[in-house]
Symmetry: C2
Subunit: 307 residues, 2 copies
């Protein structure tokens, strides 16, 4: 078992209909690590500025997260500012300051190079490729991307996809990548481009796993209180890869369980601002909600007389 | 087993990115009957004008649909004209001509009054109440409604809800009814208003059943080819009530199966224009896709060592 995440560690300022927070922990690697560390050991590669409150990450250290690869450099930390309306599915970005993240060059230490499973957070696909060039023999590579890279760095992204076991994107990203409005066709097109499997994240509507010729659908857990959707996608990825690493498997059954584990942990994330809900979340709570997911989607076969 | 639908029988003109059709069969009662007649005997109460091509309904008669309650009056049939873009979730209504439907007064014959299960299609809640006043002792009442009645006839709708076992609406309707953006809270609020159970239809994202304190989620079947989403909701209702009537049950397990049956039949409906796909659809095909739904959502429990 060994899991590596390469991505952003950020300070977010977020406003939702349920409140606002300033300069709280954010970033794909932060959410990913907070989620996956419930299940396995994870190493973080990222960069922060000298204004970053490192003590805020101590709880990750106590959960066994390896933060050796988190560079501290002079300058300000990556900052994102966003706002959500009552339709919590889409954030309006108010401000993005890349700061020290602008010149981020992921450097993997001896341990990180041996990682068996890797999550490439949403960064420049050139950097994602450079990470893959540094790892020795990963068993599973999962990558996120976004509209900015799909349009601006398409050729590089197309070089990356054949090296990706799980492309993990949202509806609009897979549609944009494939130039196809139907999500199933778009996911299959992404497979044609080289991604072995595709997970399409659909926010409050759940996630679709297109795995070879099969597909699997996990709804989002129906929550009465969603406070802040920020980080749902990255904690989904953390739950997904955390479980695959814990199970040391990526067979079809494990991929399905991982999709539900992603949805499970994401459903906790959105209950509070930032990573707050993940700080003291326990595996007992996670297992309980995973089981509730089974109940949520379970139905009996049709009796034979309906024919 | 006896099922009654009261609703519109219409001629639709529809344009989607995949083609266009003029004056084809439409209306809630038409889709409902075409779907539910695969599973049980259904009686239709509705009205058409003297321009209506009755021969188009002959296939329903061959499936045992009782069309005695379909009034033929002088004048033009209800017509709806709509258009869908690549986002097939929402239709743009281009024209609505109520015509003979404007003065529709549902009159139930001796047989229809004895119906055990009733679907009240999306019509004026005053008419929905008048239908309920005519039936003798229904075991299950399911009602649809829409934004127009939620805002314009709210008081009447609130009188209807305590007589409804299953309120079947879409996301935006339940949100509008409850004045609450969270769908789970909105469904619970609708229960507080008297509806025993709530089914929230979410188009390509599936359907949520809020049943007492429990909930159940059926995704939409992932289709690579969706041609025309018109009638998906009413054929969902037809599959849902058709199965409950066939099973003569509305226990929690049957409600779950019915939700999946609704999603199953709706997934066929949208594969072709109008009710075309439902004309020669067989129960063998339906059972096969129902089973595929089980595979689509099935996942194993977590092994004990993940703790």
């Amino acid at each position: 078992m060994s899991l590596l995440v390469v991505g952003s560690v950020a300070l977010d300022s977020v406003e939702t209909p349920f409140g606002a927070r300033e300069d709280v922990l954010g970033g794909s690697a932060t959410y990913f690590a907070a989620a996956s560390s419930l299940l396995t050991r994870v190493s973080v590669v990222g960069v922060v500025g000298d204004d970053f409150p490192l003590s805020e990450l101590e709880f990750l250290g106590r959960r066994g997260v390896d933060l050796e690869g988190l560079e501290k450099v002079r300058g300000r930390t990556f900052r994102w500012k966003g706002k959500y309306g009552f339709d919590l599915n889409a954030a309006e970005t108010l401000d993005t300051q890349l700061n020290v993240f602008e010149h981020f060059q992921p450097k993997l230490g001896a341990q990180a190079r041996k990682a068996e499973r890797i999550f490439l957070g949403n960064i420049d696909p050139e950097l994602q490729l450079r990470v893959l060039d540094q790892v020795e023999r990963p068993q599973l590579v999962c990558a996120d991307t976004m509209n900015f890279w799909i349009s601006g760095k398409r050729a590089t992204l197309l070089k990356l996809l054949p090296r990706v076991d799980v492309l993990m994107v949202n509806d609009s990203e897979v549609r944009q990548l494939a130039g196809e409005s139907n999500v199933i066709k778009a996911a299959r097109a992404a497979q044609q481009m080289g991604a072995r499997n595709v997970v399409v994240k659909r926010g409050e509507y759940g996630a679709l796993l297109v795995d070879g010729a099969q597909s699997f659908y996990a709804p989002a857990f129906p929550l009465a209180d969603v406070v802040d959707p920020t980080g749902a996608g990255d904690s989904f990825a953390g739950g997904f890869l955390g479980l695959l690493d814990r199970l040391s498997s990526s067979d079809p059954s494990a991929l399905r369980q991982a999709t539900v584990m992603g949805a499970t942990i994401a459903s906790f994330t959105v209950e509070q601002f930032s990573i707050d809900r993940l700080r003291d979340l326990t595996l007992v709570e996670v297992r309980k909600r995973f089981a509730a997911f089974r109940h949520l989607t379970h139905f009996e076969e049709l009796p034979d007389h309906v024919a």
